[in-house]
């Protein structure tokens, strides 16, 4: 057993047992390490592309394959009508509409409230600033389950008589807003804090009101930050499961989002609804966020990293 001493002083302790083409390849790459790193890079990239995209391809193949036909890598007789079947089975259009309305209205509420809060935390000095920020941060540590019981009782009218939000958009928009607002507050605090004081002062000297300076100077100048917070809030709400499922009875007329639609397809059982229809419904549900990812990927990346590395 030989112990090769490397030029950098390290010791290579592995016994050399295998000989053959692999051995020769190893020998050549030791002389030219760049080649090995390049090869590793391509293998890893292709591996990750395959693993992340394969499940989507599986959904597509499953949707297009006619009932009772075996799955093939390329379906021979694709059946595109399956996408129409989804809309026949359940009121999928309404579920999608509900999801988009919930996501857009939550985003509007969050952007307005988080803009005011982000302005305060980013640009004003006042007693209690740090404790208040920590308090808001603390919310993100709690699981949705810890808020659920009292909110359910509140929204079903068991706390304040006559106030029943269950099965209405409010029962979801309110929890979504408070759950996802902290992230937007932190993103906007960072962006608003970076605007030079001089610009705000100039607007104030020109006679703009305090709020006017926020809405006409600070927010327009931080447009990328606002877009980032908006895109992340929209995606979070569209993807949310917990309150989306538990704050309505799953009926499209009662503002159930796509969680309700897909679960009702799944629970109808395979004799009522084929697996192909479930797969097609899932593909339709992914389309809005997939477009958003392609269009706004820079915003998503900067938002996620800014929000998380803030602490």
């Amino acid at each position: 057993m030989s112990r090769d001493t490397r030029t950098d002083g390290g010791v290579q302790g592995e016994p050399e047992l295998k000989r053959g083409p692999f051995q020769r390849w190893v020998a050549s790459t030791i002389k030219e390490p760049q080649k090995a790193y390049r090869a590793m890079f391509y293998v890893a990239t292709i591996f990750f592309l395959a693993t992340t995209l394969f499940p989507f391809y599986f959904l597509l193949v499953l949707a297009l394959t006619p009932e009772n036909a075996p799955l093939a890598l390329f379906p021979t007789a694709p059946r595109f009508e399956v996408f129409l079947d989804v809309f026949d089975r359940v009121n999928f259009l309404r579920y999608m509409f509900n999801s988009l309305v919930l996501a857009l209205s939550t985003t509007a509420v969050v952007l307005l409230l988080a803009s005011l809060a982000g302005y305060v935390f980013g640009r004003l000095q006042f007693p209690g600033r740090t404790p208040l920020m920590l308090l808001i941060l603390a919310i993100s540590y709690f699981p949705p389950a810890a808020f659920f019981l009292p909110l359910y009782q509140l929204f079903t009218g068991n706390v304040v008589p006559g106030l029943s939000l269950y099965n209405t958009p409010g029962s979801m928009i309110l929890p979504f807003s408070s759950l996802f607002m902290p992230l937007s507050i932190f993103i906007l605090t960072t962006f608003y804090g970076q605007i030079p004081d001089g610009l705000e002062d100039a607007a104030r000297v020109e006679g703009t009101t305090r709020l006017g300076a926020l809405f006409r100077v600070i927010i327009p100048l931080s447009a990328p930050g606002v877009a980032t917070a908006g895109v992340l809030t929209f995606i979070s709400v569209y993807n949310e499961f917990f309150f989306s499922q538990l704050m309505n009875n799953g009926q499209p007329a009662n503002w159930a989002p796509i969680v309700g639609g897909l679960l009702s397809l799944q629970r109808a059982g395979q004799f009522q609804v084929t697996y192909g229809v479930m797969a097609a419904g899932s593909i339709i549900a992914v389309v809005p966020v997939a477009i958003l990812v392609v269009v706004a990927q820079e915003r998503i990346v900067s938002g996620l990293t800014a929000g998380a590395l803030k602490e």
């Binding site: 390490p33 992340t52 019981l149 009292p150």
Partner: protein
């Protein structure tokens, strides 16, 4: 600060009286008063929808279960906590909180054990794979933008779709990963999966872990990538000139600098993983894989309000413990 000047008259000239007086009132507030005024809408929302429910959950957890109505029985103090942690309540709960025995079976039936198992395994895999993905995205190559889109895409899809994908993939009737008893698929023959994996606690937990790693590794990769890109590139030039190999450059420069970022990313993922609910509900159902959040909902569905609130609070406490472990570890790392 110029924000305390009185300028309301300039813009208020043509407006109605009420608007002008509101503007003037706002202009004359001190900076502290103005700060609290702007914070009030956000704080009001958080007070009603976050702080009140938290305190209310804590209060509910101190009352006994009442089977009759949608409310709780009499005040029992910490009895619920004692009963759940010692296992006296197990017979009533849909799934036990702690493992009932030291067998694999019992481990996968216990809410606490399944949640911790899920969190530890999925977060470790996500960290390692996310690291490799970040190394790839850190390179300059053609088509980088599209590789990044492909890696982010699973992160951006609804949880219910993620669950649907893995529910369908492991359906016995579809027969691509899972065969039947007569015609077993490769994974069955290797003994890795039973022929009804979604009804088997162990198999279903593993499938849920794979699904979670598939979806959320991107989050880890993006955070680690941000850490890598904040490294001063001239450090690498110095290392290259002094003859360091790429591996040495990685070990001596990249790794130590981004370690804090990796820890923060792991903390974030751990908090999220401990809340797992929707994925399980879609893939296998909460009775097969009883995570802590699942147990809160199933207990609630059985009208055990006091027990449900207690488990919700224990879940929050477990997350709190994990967060403080990370913070202590982080502080220790900073000092060293």
């Amino acid at each position: 600060m110029s924000t305390e000047q009185e300028t309301g008259d300039l813009s208020g000239g043509t407006r109605t009286g009420a608007y002008a007086s509101a503007v003037r009132w706002m202009e004359n507030l001190s900076e502290t008063q103005y700060a609290y005024l702007l914070l009030s809408p956000a704080m009001l929302l958080l007070a009603v929808i976050a702080f009140w429910p938290l305190l209310s959950t804590l209060r509910l957890s101190l009352f006994a279960d009442s089977f009759a109505a949608a409310s709780v029985g009499q005040f029992v103090g910490l009895d619920n906590y004692v009963a759940i942690i010692t296992g006296q309540r197990t017979a009533l709960l849909p799934s036990p909180f702690l493992p009932q025995a030291l067998t694999v079976q019992a481990l996968f039936n216990s809410a606490l054990a399944v949640t911790i198992l899920f969190t530890v395994i999925s977060v470790s895999f996500e960290t390692v794979i996310g690291f490799v993905q970040a190394l790839i995205l850190d390179q300059d190559f053609r088509g980088r933008r599209w590789v990044r889109v492909a890696i982010i895409l699973p992160w951006a899809i609804p949880i219910v779709v993620q669950g649907m994908i893995f529910f369908l993939m492991f359906q016995p009737n579809i027969g691509f990963l899972v065969g039947t008893a007569e015609d077993p698929a490769l994974l069955n023959q290797l003994g890795l999966l039973s022929v009804t994996p979604l009804a088997n606690a162990q198999d279903a937990t593993m499938i849920v872990i794979v699904a979670d790693v598939w979806k959320t590794t991107a989050f880890m990769a993006l955070l680690i990538l941000a850490g890598m890109q904040s490294i001063d590139r001239s450090l690498y030039d110095v290392a290259r000139v002094s003859g360091a190999s790429p591996w040495q450059r990685f070990k001596l420069i990249t790794l130590p600098i981004i370690l804090p970022t990796v820890l923060v990313a792991m903390l974030f993922r751990t908090i999220q993983a401990m809340r797992i609910y929707g994925l399980i509900e879609t893939v296998a159902g909460c009775t097969t894989v009883p995570s802590l959040s699942c147990l809160v909902v199933t207990t609630f569905n059985q009208r055990l309000l006091g027990s449900s609130a207690t488990i919700a609070f224990i879940t929050a406490a477990v997350i709190g413990v994990v967060v403080s472990i990370y913070i202590v570890g982080y502080a220790r790392g900073e000092m060293a």
